[in-house]
């Protein structure tokens, strides 16, 4: 989230699209209720189903799964055409006036530079025209036909209300009503917030869905302001934290990158990370990359990381592919190229798509290690559970170790919520039986492997032998020790950068903020964005002062929010170019004539005069991007792409399948239904229920009683067409698998008219498996296709094709 849950009370309009907050995030949704009750805010829901969120909305419109970009570009088109634009914001705080290379263009659904063979773009034309002074060329009058604004106008021209109705199935009048409501938020004194979740991410173009809304928010001037923002609701309690700390193939904590093998040495690696400003006087904060990177290397390898050995750069793995993400690993596993696999509190047999392939892949491992508080499906993948896990146990040669871990109640430490609040919690119960903390297990594994290398020698043991491990008990590092390490501390005296006689921190002291990080080896810090979370004053994440001066929803003294305890990102943009709040009734910060101050930590150097430094300090442009240059693999603007399995061909280009640059493995490509395949005419989409959390709560007797049995949700029309009884048993199948379920026949899903044909949508909730207290069932991953977003490889769970028929009742055993 750019903002926070408590900030939602400040909004005038909530758009829930790609999520279902009332059901999946009920206690956060209370802030929508608060905004409706106390500010008169309105709530719009756009969703394939009339969800629980829709049931309390002011306006609802249906949309076909996988067509969100059409809708969003349609809204942008309408706003431009009807002059619903926050012009001062667009002119000053976005790249609208930047000129783009003449070679750049778009035709037939594709941007310039497409290579069909490689399934990739040559992105060299997706960039600005640069002047001889090294700065970008601009036209502040927005007259130049090559400026971003005019290219955007041309790009969205195809997305007329009629086109939206034809492709999304959203009736034109409903679409226009929504445009009108959204358009009102283009004034500086009205804001809209976007609340989205996996309904937007789980697509082969998920990142572009989100960019579409982010662009709309910029056009309306709603980024950086109270009650505005792009608010990813996030699905799990600490996926924000695990991503911050870089537990991904290609990440280093704090959104730094693991090098590729093209970056063979430190100098080459750093050469592309200079982030030189491309407008005069700009901050371009990533220019500090070196400080964060060196401090990270010192946190990892201490004295073994020295300037002479390029801070032990050779210890880091170098990637030959963009990432060894989950789906790539399961593909490799399925080819017998993975021997040993660890699942720490993760149940991939139900969480990753194409379960049949997952079972095959796990069966080829030598050893699978599970660390979990619960007996998961993954740890029992080899056990036969009839139709619910029909495997030949004796034939599966995988050795499985199932290690019992503690859960939240027995753990101490921090979790990061969607609003980036890092909240500390304490243990209040004894672990059951022999269950152990994950930290204990990881320390045991590491120390035992290290011992083997010490005793036996082996391949490249250096990064293992030299890993810092300064914990009082090496076999049980404590949460406070680990948290301090992530915050960072001085290794030798740290001096002020301007006044080099002034001491900032003495050796051994905790650093107070990332401004104290240095690139000379005098500081260490595991995760620069967490700097300030555990300072010399103690554990800032454990703060519990819930006062809220000005009643803004910021709660600055409650826990700690990264970065720098800032609650609203880009908050400099809440003020006009002169430094006065666009909306005085919603002040966050303002320029006093000498400095920036207010209710939040300013997202700008505090003494940077208005006009000198532009508000988007993380970008070398100093402004936000309506045109994202070559930063995304599938285009600098969002363009409509159909899902890989779709009822219709792409209206711009019938030859185009799904996202033209998404990675598709050969074995998965053979398992797609053809476009418009009559055997698979229904669009399926997955979702959550409020009574369950993922695959965990089916282990709880209470939740298992509240929602005991797997069902699929269909319309009355589809039920009638197929002769399906209310509550009857049905079989649903795709090109990859089949499931049996109870039919929930509702008015919440209606047939849609798409490009002249009737399309039915089937909803598939995701909470059942073959372990736990609930009745055995299936999940959507038995059916969904294994293809991911072109930028981040999040699987396309929200749009795939299936068929449905009535089925005989389950035989009573």
């Amino acid at each position: 989230m750019t903002n926070s849950w408590t900030d939602i009370k400040n909004t005038d309009l909530v758009v829930v699209m790609g999520g279902n907050a009332a059901e999946a995030h009920p206690c956060g949704f209370k802030w929508v209720t608060e905004a409706k009750a106390h500010r008169g805010a309105k709530l719009i829901v756009v969703d394939p189903r009339y969800t629980r969120t829709a049931s309390v909305s002011d306006f609802y419109a249906p949309i076909r799964p996988g067509s969100d970009i059409v809708f969003l570009m349609g809204v942008i088109r309408w706003c431009i055409e009807n002059d619903k634009v926050q012009w001062d914001y667009v002119r000053n705080y976005t790249n609208a006036s930047f000129l783009v290379k003449d070679e750049f263009g778009w035709a037939d659904g594709l941007f310039t530079g497409y290579d069909e063979e490689k399934r990739d773009y040559d992105k060299s034309s997706w960039d600005y025209k640069m002047g001889e002074d090294g700065f970008v060329q601009t036209d502040p009058t927005l007259q130049d036909p090559r400026c971003v604004w005019n290219l955007l106008r041309a790009h969205v021209d195809a997305y007329t209300p009629e086109f939206v109705e034809r492709i999304c199935g959203t009736p034109k009048d409903k679409f226009l009503t929504i445009c009108g409501m959204i358009g009102e938020c283009s004034t500086p004194t009205k804001t809209m917030t976007s609340m989205y979740a996996l309904g937007w991410t789980q697509h082969s173009k998920g990142a572009q869905n989100i960019r579409g809304m982010a662009m709309l928010q910029l056009i309306l001037g709603n980024i950086g302001v109270r009650g505005g923002g792009m608010n990813a609701l996030r699905g799990h309690s600490n996926i924000q934290g695990l991503t911050d700390i870089g537990l991904m193939s290609n990440l280093i904590p704090g959104y730094l990158n693991i090098p590729t093998e093209k970056e063979a040495d430190w100098t080459t690696y750093m050469s592309t990370r200079a982030f030189k400003p491309i407008v005069p006087n700009q901050t371009s904060y990533w220019q500090n990359y070196l400080k964060f990177m060196v401090s990270f290397m010192k946190a990892m390898w201490g004295d073994a990381a020295q300037p002479e050995n390029d801070w032990a750069y050779h210890y880091l793995p170098k990637l030959d592919v963009p990432a060894y993400d989950g789906m790539r690993m399961f593909e490799l596993m399925n080819h017998g190229k993975v021997n040993l696999y660890f699942c720490q509190g993760f149940n991939p047999l139900l969480s990753f798509p194409n379960r049949g392939k997952m079972t095959q892949a796990f069966s080829k491992l030598k050893m699978l290690v599970i660390m979990d508080p619960l007996a998961t499906e993954t740890s029992h993948f080899w056990q036969n559970h009839g139709i619910h896990n029909d495997v030949d146990t004796a034939a599966i040669q995988t050795e499985v170790l199932e290690l019992p871990t503690t859960c939240f109640a027995e753990d101490e430490g921090a979790l990061v919520n969607s609003g980036r609040w890092i909240q500390w919690h304490w243990a209040g119960a004894t672990p059951p039986g022999e269950a152990k903390h994950d930290t204990w297990i990881m320390a045991q594994i590491f120390q035992r492997v290290k011992k083997l290398y010490q005793d036996e020698g082996g391949v490249f043991p250096d990064p293992i032998l030299n890993l810092t491990w300064d914990y009082a008990d090496p076999l049980e590092p404590m949460p406070d020790e680990l948290a301090r390490e992530m915050n960072g501390r001085a290794l030798s005296t740290v001096y002020d950068l301007k006044d080099t006689t002034k001491v900032v921190a003495e050796a051994g002291q905790q650093l107070s903020n990332f401004g104290q990080y240095r690139d000379d080896g005098s500081t260490m810090g595991g995760c620069w964005i967490y700097a300030g979370s555990w300072t010399e004053d103690g554990n800032m994440m454990a703060r519990r002062d819930n006062t809220d001066p000005g009643d803004t929803g910021a709660f600055l003294n409650w826990s700690f929010a990264w970065p720098a305890n800032r609650r609203i990102l880009y908050n400099r943009a809440s003020c006009d170019p002169q430094g006065k709040p666009w909306d005085p009734s919603r002040k966050i910060i303002e320029w006093t004539g000498e400095k920036w101050e207010g209710y939040d930590v300013p997202d700008i150097p505090v003494t940077a005069k208005p006009g000198e430094v532009h508000p988007f300090i993380m970008n070398p442009e100093g402004v936000s991007r309506l045109f994202s240059r070559g930063m995304m693999r599938d285009g600098p603007f969002p363009t409509h792409m159909e899902p890989f399995e779709a009822p219709i061909a792409n209206p711009f280009n019938a030859r185009m399948r799904g996202n033209p640059v998404a990675r598709v493995f050969e074995s998965d490509a053979n398992q797609f239904a053809a476009i418009g395949d009559p055997e698979f005419p229904c669009v399926a989409t997955s979702y959550r229920l409020t009574e369950h959390f993922h695959y965990w709560t089916k282990h709880n007797p209470v939740n298992a009683v509240l929602q005991p049995e797997f069902f699929v949700e269909i319309s009355e029309e589809l039920a009638a067409e197929r002769g399906i009884e209310r509550g009857g048993r049905v079989r649903v199948w795709s090109k990859r698998g089949e499931v049996w379920a109870k039919a929930l026949v509702t008015k919440r899903i209606r047939p849609m008219q798409i490009d002249g044909k009737t399309v039915h949508v089937i909803g598939i909730p995701l909470h059942w498996g073959f372990m736990g207290a609930a009745k055995k069932g299936f999940g959507p991953n038995s059916l969904s296709s294994q293809v991911g977003d072109a930028n981040v490889e999040t699987p396309e769970f929200k749009a795939f094709m299936v068929n449905i028929e009535p089925s005989a009742e389950e035989p009573v055993a």
Binding site: H236, Y315, D372, F408, G458
Partner: protein
């Protein structure tokens, strides 16, 4: 407005105060004693309170856990009740149908309590000691790493990748667990590293 006085302490004071003053004022001296003798003590009055956050979605509602026994004092503690934390700015004491049943997750019948091992082709898990399990894992990792670690690519560039072992990290473990996991996995050169945020 932090509440310094613990909730338990507050209940004790308030409860005792109300009973004594109202009954005493009405002249029921003996009745008061009789009343006290049969009124059951407030259940949570003898418990330890601990602040925590809900481990499900990332609204991260504040919760108060009530346990018999105090972990901090080194005692065995059994969790007996969980409720929303009224002081928490986000949830202000409320919990959803999942959070309200959190205690059931902690005490789920299918919670794991012992390390177990399933041998190749076996139809059941067998109990195994922690020592045996961890030695097995360490041995398997060392052997696989030594056999398959890629030190240089075809061009002779040092790449230090280990692709035949993978690690899928969690979605609800603490930052501190995440950091220790990161250090362990990265130091060994494992690149097949991912977490729940991917899906």
């Amino acid at each position: 407005m932090n509440i310094d006085l613990s909730r338990r302490g507050f209940f004790k004071l308030a409860g005792a105060g109300v009973a004594a003053t109202s009954l005493g004022a009405m002249g029921f001296g003996e009745a008061e004693a009789a009343e006290r003798a049969h009124v059951r003590a407030f259940k949570l009055a003898t418990t330890t309170e601990t602040r925590n956050t809900c481990p499900y979605c990332s609204v991260a509602c504040g919760i108060i856990m009530y346990s018999k026994g105090d972990v901090k004092a080194g005692e065995t503690a059994e969790l007996i009740h969980i409720e929303g934390d009224a002081d928490h700015p986000t949830n202000r004491g409320t919990l959803c149908p999942k959070g309200a049943a959190l205690k059931d997750f902690v005490h789920a019948p299918t919670r794991l309590t012992k390390p177990r091992h399933r041998a190749a082709g076996a139809s059941e898990f067998q109990d195994i000691t922690w020592d045996e399990a961890l030695d097995k894992i360490a041995r398997a990792m060392k052997d696989d790493r030594d056999a398959n670690f890629i030190q240089t690519n075809e061009a002779g560039v040092p790449v230090n990748r280990w692709t035949t072992t993978g690690f899928l990290a969690a979605s609800a473990t603490t930052n501190e667990t995440a950091w220790l996991t990161y250090k362990t996995v990265r130091s060994m050169g494992i690149v097949g590293f991912d977490n729940q945020a991917r899906v």
